[in-house]
Symmetry: C2
DNA sequence: TGAATACCCTATTAAATCGATGGGATAATT
DNA sequence: AATTATCCCATCGATTTAATAGGGTATTCA
């Protein structure tokens, strides 16, 4: 299942992508427009900013804004930041690889074989979609 | 993330697929060979049996065995039985469809658009793999 | 026929994760 | 200085997951 964190994060990003001149938008406005708990959205936007996807401005007239053009924001990046590993099993993960402690031979493992294909296909989709493609 | 239930279930199925003459294999033997908690595996094999993927025989010399040929067991079936919906969001699920209560327009939703592609690609993989392909 | 074997079922638990919330500190405008 | 809005910490309830325990029931074989 896709977490609400990722879902909300994607919605917020697409909302911000539609704003002209990259004018800062307040959390409250995004939350209201997308039906998201404001406090929860707050923490999501924060992690997006910490990972270089958003910029922020404090004080009056402040808010969040896109830091890059939607065409330059890959879904692989967004998904890894919000949802974590793209692979369903650590032993087929490119960025978060981890060996299974119960599995003696990775090459012979049927789960490994299947999940490798799933990862490759998911990766293809995320690589071929930028934020601009979702508008 | 792939649940251990699914992971163990897949391993058990591939183990049973290698048994000649579909001779019944005891839970304890599968658990030991695949490093799985026996009691946990017990419940997994039970659901596989209830969903027509395995047969069982009680009493001495009993155990579990494949009920169909590995070539005839699609991964779509296995995944739906063990892991549940293939889609990451209910609003793009074929077998478990559900409307998002926070999303006014499904067609305009960016999450929907992206997750639809992910589902299609995953489905393609699962459709093109039988249990025999994992051996 | 009876005892051993092995499936079948329910309930419980510990740990982890998720979604959400509250309170207050910090920074930037006016 | 006062207002405004981001920033950050800490917690909380609900749910799910993985595993365990214990006993019931059906089947087989001697």
């Amino acid at each position: 299942m896709l977490s609400k964190k990722t879902k909300y994060g994607l919605k917020a990003l697409t909302f911000l992508a539609k704003i002209k001149d990259r004018e800062p938008i307040q959390i409250a406005e995004i939350a209201k427009h997308e039906n998201i708990s404001q406090k929860f959205l707050e923490s999501i936007l924060l992690t997006l900013r910490r990972n270089g996807l958003l910029g922020s401005k404090k004080g009056k007239g402040g808010g969040y804004y896109l830091i890059k053009e939607p065409e330059d924001i890959l879904m692989t990046t967004v998904m890894r930041v919000l949802e974590g590993p793209i692979a369903m099993v650590p032993c087929v993960s490119l960025n978060f690889y981890e060996k299974c402690d119960d599995c003696p031979d990775e090459e012979a493992c049927s789960v490994h074989k299947l999940m490798l294909q799933i990862r490759d296909n998911a990766l293809d989709v995320y690589k071929n979609n930028t934020l601009a493609d979702l508008l």
